[in-house]
């Protein structure tokens, strides 16, 4: 009898400490990054680090602006492509598709989420980059194809499953009575979707988009393979860019003999972490308010 109780008590404590350790990881990572990034922030003011465009590690100049812009443009473009497509897709799956079709399509889309990102990168290099190069040449724009546009397209495809599966979930959770009330007044199905269902599902859809955004924002491998990695502020979607994630992945561990280089890269990592944390907290907040 006593043994059972002891096991019961111990098992609870074990699970509790494991959970605590896992949740503490976020704090630990953030703190570690901060400590490592401190040296460079002590030498150069953070404002200058964020707004300067000159990236000359050997001269001790670490301007993050081009990389921030690279990340921003690639992510922004990806969201522009992904949002309308995902919305139309989610609405179709949840409101129009017959159940049998839904049962086939949804797992298929969820499969996209399971493809390793390096595979998306290869797909980008083999299909998207040449397509952009050839199409651009036809309209007299010279580009290698490795570009913000290529990054945007590949990222958009990668966030489809996230945005779609959360949105479908959210739209399906709108009570049937909402549709019935609208339809019984003689509204068409599209009017019902547009004016009642989407309105009800709106906070959840925003949260889905933010989740997708966070994924796109932090994605490294696939992007680094298709954006060209030239440290410049891109002026058109056909130019190369160099997102922050790619910078860190390409250089960390290789150029660490350069003074302050590793501190600079970890500052980049800290910035990424903070922005993603901010967005996922925003998503949580919006979902909570919508749930009320």
């Amino acid at each position: 009898m006593r043994v059972r109780k002891v096991i019961d008590g111990v098992s609870e404590k074990v699970m509790c400490s494991v959970t605590a350790a896992v949740s503490f990881l976020v704090v630990l990572i953030a703190a570690g990054l901060y400590l490592k990034a401190r040296p460079i922030m002590e030498i150069t003011p953070i404002k200058e680090l964020l707004t300067s465009s000159s990236w000359h590690p050997l001269k001790g100049e670490f301007g993050f602006y081009p990389f921030l812009m690279g990340t921003f443009w690639v992510t922004f473009l990806a969201m522009i492509f992904a949002i309308p497509i995902c919305l139309l897709c989610s609405i179709y799956i949840s409101e129009y598709a017959p159940r049998k079709m839904r049962d086939v399509i949804k797992p298929l889309i969820d499969l996209l989420a399971g493809i390793p990102s390096v595979v998306y990168g290869v797909f980008g290099v083999l299909a998207v980059v040449p397509l952009i190069r050839d199409t651009a040449h036809r309209i007299n724009i010279s580009t290698t194809g490795y570009s913000v546009l290529a990054g945007g397209i590949v990222l958009a495809i990668m966030v489809f499953p996230i945005i779609i599966s959360v949105s479908v979930e959210v739209i399906q959770s709108v009570p049937y009575e909402a549709r019935e009330s609208s339809l019984s007044l003689g509204a068409t199905q599209w009017q019902t979707v547009k004016k009642v269902v989407l309105k009800k599902a709106f906070p959840g859809i925003v949260a889905a988009i933010i989740l997708g955004f966070s994924r796109a924002f932090g994605e490294t491998m696939a992007v680094l393979m298709v954006v060209g990695n030239v440290p410049q502020v891109p002026h058109s979607i056909f130019e190369e860019a160099y997102p922050l994630t790619a910078l860190i992945a390409n250089n960390y561990g290789e150029m660490l003999s350069v003074p302050l280089y590793d501190s600079a890269l970890l500052l980049g990592a800290l910035i990424l972490l903070l922005i993603v944390l901010l967005f996922s907290m925003a998503a949580r907040l919006i979902l909570m308010r919508g749930g009320r």
Partner: protein, 251 residues
Amino acid sequence: MYHITIKGLNVSYGNHHVLKNVSLEIPRNKITVIIGPSGCGKTTLLKSLNRLLELQEGVRISGSVLVDDESVYDPKVDVTELRKKMGLLSQRPYPLPMSIFDNVAYGPRIHGTRKRKKLNEIVEKNLRAAGLWEEVKDRLKSPAASLSIGQQQRLCLARCLAVSPEIILCDEPTSALDPFSAQKIEETLSELKTDYTIVVVTHNLRRARRLADYVGFIFLGELIEHGGKKDIFENPKDERTRRYISGESYL
């Protein structure tokens, strides 16, 4: 003379035969109450009239429903026009996620009324008809969800009246309400019957007695008998009807 004529209506969900060969005439500008125990097909019957039923997956419907001698299930029928003609008041009120005003104006707007003045008129007139105007006239802009459930049901009634239906279908319209709100809805329905044909589904016999002009009794998917209120309540022909009305067990 009859507004709605149902002939040989059969409905089944998968293998479950819900309505069995139901035939019923519903007179114009009267309240027809369909009574019967829960789960015997009353709601199904109601929703087969405005074709909301066919939205359910795996439902099969056969037989005919005529409204003004036109077949509801004719492929040529514009289903949005049909539904506009038949307002629906469901068991639990479901205000649309918008303001009180917009809830009532929703129907007229989707059917193309844009002018603010006209909409104001429609909203006031129908909120009055539903007996809610005095309570909400100062807060038409507040969300409909802020109303009490009884007020919400009257709002739903106003919303359904706003598209000028000819028929009002009520599915247990008062069962979720407190007695006071329930009485208000019932009084409103009794007033409305001069202009509308009303079909009410309920398992509450007292309510049925108060409201009904005509009564139909459904039991296990079959329409056992129907007729004037007096005939059914005082002189039922079928044993099952008699037992149900007198509150005896069904067997």
